[in-house]
Symmetry: D2
């Protein structure tokens, strides 16, 4: 298949505490988070005395059937979706991970990436540990299993003290569920009320589908335990500046989800980004179009601020399967054609502003520019609601190597020439921060290289998971 | 699964003449027409001496693999996608249909519905014919097979003289391809140039994906033959007023397809419909939202004309599988939640105009109104870019029975009360016609009951196909 | 996969009349007849007013699930299994065939082969008939559909008068079931009592699995109708000498089935064949082994008559799937090894008599001789309980072309040299007839070329089906 | 499905060292060992630097495709088949198990059962180990991983010193393969020469299919290492009396495999068992039949010694799938009917000796007696070539609980009455030993309760694996 040229969504996690048919509710919640990972899906459920697990490669709707869900009884469940990695079918790396150890059973679903697991892995291997996966999450499980702490919560705490990086975690034990975020709160995690019980999820859109009510986010560094007595909060870590992933707001999260910071919708933030973009990079034009679906809100914002009409100039085909058969004969820009098609009538003879939100390698936007040009546009002005993506992410986003990041290799003018746009404007980091709720508390390492939670000593694709 | 409450898309057809890997190109074209039918897909190919066929229930990407396409060699191919009928898995009814008869082999892909097949079927059965399917298309094949005409083209012509109703047909013979439309041109069919050969399809979006260039539509009543000598046109029928299905422009066709009449995009027509709707049913409001994805252009038009801001107030989940597991516990408006989610920030405290394009039973729009109300909207004004759907379609659209059509049972005010909207405005037929390209030449029987190509004596769901 | 070198089993048919869960009983009966056909399986069932059909490529256990069988309700059902043809997956040719025609619905399951269908097919095509399959059985359906007779039974009778060849048929109508055999009774068909109803099947082993009691065979030329009033017999054809397929008794039928002629088991007939073979072709030896599984009874007979010990010298692997992956590196006689393995201890240093029942191309027996030789046998004496297979079968057995039949090309001595046996003895036709129940009444055209029911004018593989 | 009433075959293991397409050869070898396990199959392969693994539930032919095998490159591979446990689909328990630990990668395939893993498991869990399966084999991997030994071979040796029970193991490292048996050699393991390399397998039949030449068995307590320098043997354990599983010779092994002790085929041993059985329990009768397929050699032996004719009185259906649909209406002895059918002609009016080799719960033999009685036998004399099975096996055979073992609950006379046989005779332990090659060196704990390698403290089904 043609290469995916958008940043790969990271993982999505959910948890259900004290609700009938918890596994079915986890399934629905995962389904609402499907945009965060299409490679694999899994649910671990507790019937009060033991954990059961089902996970497999595939979409949520493919991995789970009525029969499978009925075999996951109980009032507690956690779930995980993982992004798609081309060609790899490592079912072993699907989550939740589950372990039997001296403290009993535990299952874990992880969104993020630990940066010091190489060293820990080596340490544990020296002490006799066996690893089944290449994931950092398994290292975390070994930390818990090797802890000499008497209680699970102490073991968990001691383990958390040892890891660095980004992590939003949901853990399931036969008798309780725990949700927590790293001290900087790099990856999202929110809490909802669900009847007599609770739900947690990467985004609030997972609450809407099951009728849960959004309460608040899990705070950076907070450990929330859900058990018979209800919900308990601890904040054991030393206070640190929060650093929420700014790309969640720009691109990853669903527009109907609420920002954990100020309860605005992601949609509104993106419209504002578009407005700021219009202020930063105005251009005389006849029409504003967005690259569907994620960049449409920014395009709406750009149009509104610039008073240039907004149009749907590109149609996205939503029926794309995982494999796509390409004819031997060459069809120009085949990959982009399968995914997008221009609406000639709103492009022909027009000066077009194209708003995108995530230029990675530059190949897709290049094909889109060519496509719009062939549809008759007289000028094409590309605007990116994200600043240039220069640095790899070590905190849970599947990143191409720096050589593949076009903005890491080329200047803005060089990129403009390569994608054959008439003008090209990227959102400034300053402008970005201005628009974000709460303004300063963001991780924007992909744009400025400031790795707030450290870098791994050696960073391989293999280890970088979910 | 929850009931589909949108009008079911009818069928899509394609044909490729004189191109290498014709079956693969037909596959890609079908894929671009997937919105016209998700139940089954099929391709018949000619290697110059004989026809080969593959068809099955499922999406195009599920039915065809590289291996299957490689087993359909040759430079000619036709294809078909069929809409989904709940619960039914009648593979036999998938198309193209293929027959061996005294004149050799012929395959046919049909979009539309014949209205006098009951009588013809009885006649043929009396003469010894055996039927394998319940489709009107099979009756048409029997007409050809029973013809005493010497040549295929004569047999075809004589057969066409005998049928009534709506039909766009692509026929494949080992040595040629034929594309034709009924005298009124009720269903669409367009011709494209593809290298040394030709393509035909229900919509021009099927040309874009394979790099074919749109030439013109097959004219109402025209029979176009593609063979070694190129493309030949005949117009054997007596002249009749054309009557193109107006609902194609309102709802069925993809917005990036071109109207056969004036080469405007469907998108532009729909934006104009929205503008007209705003003129007919203005209302003071804060925001205009469309029901995604089909009603978005009309919403954009309404917003533009009314100068009320356009927002994406509803997000559609595109990962829905064919089966969806519902929890036993009740979740309010579960079906609508799985498909749509409101963007609270743009709805809360606002007067909202909701633009839809196809109110059938009224249940979905009712749930959407409730969903927007719960998101905090203070007023909800529903606007339909289609007039009230009162009469069943006998020309190829899967229609609920009249009792199920809410506009057939209730007045506009009664519907408004039932869906709990503050105001409700339907596009007038007059306004609709005004916006359409060429103005008068449309079938709008579903709105006015004027069945331009006759009604079947008895009309059963079983016979009504694709 | 390696080439199948045994004669392909022909089809198996069953019928259930007036029993609860008729489709499930048909399924079990088909399962007992699986040795007669592994390519496809199908069941048509009647709920009293209409017929429903399910058929597909695959084994009985693969084609039918609980869900599928539950969707085939009613007290009447017929079923069919069809042999495997390498590489072909023509689902269309699976049976039962079903038709809607002026007389209503009819389904038919056919074992045998009609020899004059080419002419009939041409005739019908001239009259406008459309064919969906390449089977002779479909021609038979057209005969019924084109009949001007008022009643179904008359139409059936008139149709039967027009066909030549071998046929055992079970037909299902919404209100009755009909079982019949051609005037010579070439292919088997037997009747059993099943509670208040009846069962029919190709062999009695199909009765044992469902607890039906064997009554009698359907007599050559007899038409048996099962309806509300019970079982009615007609024998409308002019009296003809019966000619039951002798190869059924030698090879095709299951050994636990009863001969229709004298109620001996097929097993006993084969033991007697082995005895006769020992009398015709005695040889001093240390051990008698049979080629498993079909030739074991003949080997037991040979051992008993010759007083040479019987041993299981070859073990057959029963887990062979439909596809088998072969390494690129050559493994000597790989195909035979996958299927058979010698038991060295009973072969090494011994003079071995190997009894087979069906030498077609000679390649398998050649590999078996080589395998036994490598296992240390000092002499190998091949004995065939069937006479040399010289002529193709036109009556329902999948026959290689004459050039592929080794006995058609080579003399017995030449065959012996080619398969590298020390001696080779084939059963004589005279000896064969002597052993058969009732002695004279057999079709042995494959051995003597006496085609009792005519030959087709042109005989192609395509037309020759089940 | 109806309950499986034969002792469940234990696991089968294979290894290929230094041969092109090692994984394909492992696949073929596993296929020849399919009778030892039908639940799951797996292969780990080494490309010289790292190990790759594929395993899944299903038959060998279902689990492996050409594509999967091509993704397992290299000249070294080990494989495993595991028996079927009703209803359980614990893919996690499939083998080979693979681990990444401080010493690198290792994969292991195990036939047998360790008896002291509960204690070891607890010990390791206390030290922080995480377990993924419930198998004893995983405990063994933890032993290796926790060893402080510098070299792999030392770690292996120290680990072996710690385990008790029955084990034949094949281990794969990126650069070598190791095959070993427990000091008593309870489970089988043999070595073959394969071109420039070697093969190991549970039985010699696995060599025949790939053209490997049988060299010798791995001796009890022997560790054989295959690496660049060829094959090296160590025998580090203190000398102990060997105790080969006698049931391998009676029932589990394929008849065409060679005994590791004296190179007789298993077939010959079973014929001798039948002869001994006839001497111990003679009876006047007309015919001897065996329960197919495993008891046929013993029946041949009984017939030969008693000079009563041997006949195939029961036919076994080989097309049984894993699931079988049962009608709601009762069919007497349905389960047995699906699997076996009597050959009436050789049973009716006869005094019948029925030879079986493995009476577990007594239900199947009871149904077979009823079936033969209904077929008209006047007397039925059951003879078992195995002594009464009284004690559970802790060494790798799936054993019902003692209450389910009919011989554990009832005397021989009581069993006879329950199964409704006229007489019943079991082989004596003394007679059994007399017939076995080498006479004394056998584990017969299932018959005499003498557990040569200890008993587990608590023995649960969960832990008892392949």
């Amino acid at each position: 298949m043609f290469q995916n040229e958008k940043p790969r969504e990271e993982c999505g996690i959910v948890g259900i505490h004290n609700a009938p048919e918890a596994a079915k509710l986890a399934y629905l919640s995962l389904y609402a988070l499907q945009h965060r990972g299409q490679e694999s899906a899994g649910i671990a459920a507790s019937d009060g005395t033991r954990l059961l697990l089902h996970k497999d490669n595939g979409l949520v709707a493919e991995v789970f059937s009525e029969t499978v869900l009925d075999a996951l009884p109980g009032r507690g469940a956690i779930g995980h979706v993982r992004y798609s990695t081309t060609g790899s079918t490592r079912t072993a790396n699907a989550q939740p991970l589950m372990a039997n150890y001296h403290g009993g059973q535990v299952a874990v679903a992880h969104n993020g990436n630990l940066t010091n697991t190489d060293e820990l892995r080596t340490t544990f291997e020296k002490r006799g540990a066996i690893f089944q996966t290449s994931t950092d999450t398994e290292v975390f499980l070994h930390l818990i299993a090797h802890s000499s702490a008497v209680s699970f919560s102490e073991a968990l705490l001691l383990s958390l003290m040892r890891v660095k990086g980004a992590y939003s975690l949901v853990l399931l034990r036969p008798d309780c569920m725990i949700a927590l975020r790293d001290p900087r709160g790099i990856r999202p995690l929110v809490i909802g009320k669900l009847g007599d019980g609770y739900a947690v999820a990467s985004e609030t859109c997972a609450f809407d589908i099951i009728g849960a009510e959004y309460l608040r986010e899990v705070r950076p560094g907070e450990i929330v335990t859900f058990d018979d007595t209800g919900m308990k909060s601890e904040t054991p870590f030393a206070q640190t500046d929060p650093a929420f992933c700014v790309f969640e707001n720009i691109y990853y999260s669903r527009p109907d989800s609420l920002s954990g910071v100020d309860r605005r919708t992601i949609y509104e933030i993106r419209v504002d980004l578009g407005r700021e973009l219009a202020r930063e990079h105005p251009v005389p034009a006849d029409v504003v179009v967005g690259v569907p679906d994620s960049a449409l809100p920014a395009a709406i914002g750009y149009a509104r601020e610039s008073r240039i009409p907004y149009e749907m100039g590109l149609i996205r085909n939503h029926y794309i399967g995982r494999t796509f058969i390409e004819p031997r004969q060459s069809i120009r820009d085949f990959g982009a054609r399968v995914k997008y098609n221009p609406v000639r009538g709103v492009l022909a003879g027009k000066r077009v502003v194209v708003v995108d939100d995530s230029i990675v390698r530059g190949t897709t936007i290049g094909k889109i520019v060519a496509m719009i040009r062939r549809a008759g546009a007289t000028e094409i002005h590309v605007r990116s609601s994200a600043p240039p993506w220069i640095y790899p992410c070590y905190y849970g986003v599947d990143t191409p190597s720096p050589e593949e990041l076009i903005a890491s290799r080329l200047s803005v003018e060089e990129i403009r020439r390569q994608i054959k746009a008439d003008t090209l404007g990227y959102m400034s980091i300053k402008g970005l921060v201005k628009v974000m709720p709460g303004h300063l508390a963001y991780c924007k390492a992909c744009f400025d290289g400031a790795y707030v939670a450290g870098k791994p000593q050696k960073f391989t694709k293999e280890i970088h998971e979910g």
